[in-house]
């Protein structure tokens, strides 16, 4: 068995069996990196009784560390609690690059901090956009500034996201790469027989029914579109706190026969829901990169979306109709989409998506980032501390203290259990 080119540890609180954009990104990127001859290991927290080591397709090894999530699928921020297990995994798997995902993930921040203390190369991918004004964002941005102060390279999923990350963290733009998400076009194929748009036009909505995803906009847009177009029906997939508001809207306007509420849709069923429609409606109020519209376009649906975040960068102009996050403008965009619907060819759209977005391309571009990270010079502790000091008058000193303690704890661990005592895990070849 040939020695892997790189040994990558993907770290995030968000991974399967949980479903979402970050989870998909980590999984597909890992699979493609494995195909390119790298060794990839994922580290996440335990999900229910799913703990310990699991193997996924292609020999992707996943460490479900028995730390329980405490809020929004995040592990409790202990700062130093994860140091022993992170060190053990890094040594066991002979890791060369640590790749953290998502600024929300406490496990990601802690693992990157420990990895830098131990002298590993670290890469961070930001999947979201954040504000600057509210208390939560201010706190999050400070944490991000701390994590990115000592990073080798960073990746963002859109140019808007890159701009946002650079502004929030004070990171040099030269260190930040833009690598978009992709879609598994083999999973999202158009229907063999396209539903006719002559008698009924179906508009599909699949998203979590929360404020951020624009569920309140839907409450105002759906009745107006139904009033203007008697042949339009809506299929709404997803669940969340705003589900009740949509149900109330349906009752109030007597749209039970025209608005179908599917509830939570498992990822395996998303394609079968999408292919029943003609138009995909995305009403997000903030989005770094919307994978849902990629999946819809791959299934041959014309997309109507709010012009927010990185959404305008995702699809070519003839595949999407953009609108401001305002009910009237969204209704106008849907009207425009209905008028251009006859000119849409789902098969052609699918083939274009195949060329535009592929995980193989994402993996190759990520590989370049890893190579850049490996070429970065290894800084000593004092050089690294000077970077943290520049993070703020008080914050800088706090960050320095955190890093000094982390360094001392690492040295103590090395004394108690030398590196030679950590048993290396064998590489299991799943290809044969």
């Amino acid at each position: 068995m040939a020695e892997p080119k790189l040994r990558v540890l993907m770290v995030s609180d968000f991974f399967f069996p949980n479903f979402g954009g970050v989870e998909n990104h980590i999984y597909y990127l890992s699979q493609c990196l494995l195909n390119l001859g790298h060794k990839v290991v994922v580290m996440t927290h335990a999900y229910g009784n799913r703990t310990g080591v699991r193997y996924m397709t292609g020999g992707l090894k996943v460490y479900y560390v028995p730390w329980r999530p405490f809020a929004m699928q995040n592990t409790f921020p202990t700062v130093y609690g994860t140091l022993p297990i992170v060190r053990t995994i890094l040594k066991r798997e002979r890791i060369t690059v640590v790749h953290g995902h998502q600024a929300f993930s406490t496990l990601c921040h802690e693992a990157l901090m420990h990895a830098r203390t131990m002298g590993y190369r670290v890469v961070f991918t930001d999947h979201s956009l954040y504000g600057f004004a509210d208390v939560g964002s201010i706190h999050m941005n400070k944490v991000l500034q701390f994590t990115l102060a000592d990073i080798d390279q960073a990746i963002c999923v859109s140019h808007t996201s890159k701009e946002n990350t650079v502004l929030r963290s004070g990171l040099s733009p030269g260190k930040v790469f833009m690598i978009p998400n992709a879609v598994d076009t083999a999973m999202f194929k158009p229907a063999d027989v396209r539903p006719s748009s002559d008698d009924v036009i179906t508009i599909v909505v699949i998203s979590r029914l929360v404020y951020r995803k624009g569920a309140d906009l839907l409450v105002e847009v759906i009745p107006e579109v139904c009033r203007l177009y008697p042949n339009v029906r809506f299929v709404v997939g997803g669940d969340g706190p705003k589900h009740v508001r949509l149900e109330e809207m349906r009752e109030k306007h007597s749209l039970q026969d025209r608005v179908e509420m599917l509830g939570a849709v498992p990822h395996s069923r998303v394609r079968s829901v999408l292919v029943t429609g003609h138009i995909f409606l995305n009403s997000s109020l903030t989005e770094a990169f919307c994978i849902a519209i990629l999946e819809a376009a791959s299934c041959g649906l014309l997309t109507v979306s709010t012009r927010v975040g990185g959404v305008p960068e995702v699809l070519p102009d003839d595949m999407v109709v953009l609108a401001e996050p305002d009910p009237d403008d969204m209704v106008r965009a849907i009207e425009k989409a209905i008028s251009i619907l006859p000119s849409i060819n789902p098969e052609e759209m699918h083939n274009r998506m195949k060329k535009l977005y592929s995980w193989q391309d994402v993996a190759k571009r990520t590989e370049i980032v890893y190579d850049r990270a490996l070429k970065c010079s290894n800084r000593n502790l004092l050089e690294r501390l000077s970077r943290f000091l520049s993070c703020g008058a008080w914050a800088g000193k706090v960050f320095c203290m955190v890093m000094i303690i982390d360094y001392l704890l690492w040295r103590l661990l090395q004394f108690l259990q030398p590196d030679d005592d950590v048993e290396e895990a064998p590489d299991i070849n799943f290809c044969n």
């Binding site: 460490y63 730390w67 005592d421």
Partner: protein
């Protein structure tokens, strides 16, 4: 008696077999904590006795109003605590394989006490090498799938021998039960290479 061994800083693995040719011979696999550690545990027990003795002397020889006398209670309690803990220290764990009959798992404590568990051959479905993950570390363990039991049974309940030590025991168990070893060849190759 054929014997072979593997050693590292922490443990020594000893394999004893009555004869290599005879497949019906009893096969014994020991994992022993290295001497330095056992000596350390013994020293700990002496420390416990010393603390208890010191506590008694302090209590009876010092005057009633002496503040140091109150220390005697903490010495006494800590001494008893160390003594209780030292009884749990494991010296050796063994796997005795008796073909066509069963396997016996033995744990020998520093105090001299031995705990045994016998598993009939018919109850063992499959021996497996598992990577265990705790909140602070990862290690390999050898476990048994037993008929009619949901939980895996650990072969080594107290000690954590390395994969190099576990593979020969796993192979021996597979041979006795008649399990296919091919699915773990990658690990074995790695061990041989290492």
């Amino acid at each position: 008696m054929v014997s072979s061994s593997i050693s590292n800083k922490r443990y020594t693995y000893i394999h004893e077999s009555e004869s290599e040719a005879n497949r019906e011979a009893i096969d014994i696999h020991h994992v022993i904590i290295n001497g330095s550690r056992v000596t350390g545990y013994a020293r700990l027990r002496w420390l416990a006795f010393f603390l208890v003795a010191l506590a008694i002397i302090m209590y009876f020889l010092l005057g009633k109003d002496n503040p140091v006398r109150t220390l005697s209670w903490s010495c006494l309690l800590s001494g008893f605590f160390v003594m209780i803990q030292s009884r749990k220290f494991v010296k050796k764990e063994s796997v005795i394989i008796m073909p066509t009959f069963g396997i016996q798992l033995e744990t020998q404590y520093l105090s001299g006490k031995t705990v045994s568990m016998f598993i009939p051959i018919g109850k063992i479905l499959k021996p497996v090498l598992v990577e265990c993950v705790t909140p602070v570390t990862c290690y390999w363990s050898l476990s048994l799938f037993l008929r009619g039991e949901e939980q895996l049974t650990l072969v080594f309940k107290e000690l954590r021998p390395t994969l190099k030590m576990l593979v020969p025991i796993w192979k021996a168990l597979c041979a006795v039960i008649g399990t296919d070893q091919s699915e773990m060849m990658t690990e074995e190759e790695h061990v041989v290479a290492g």
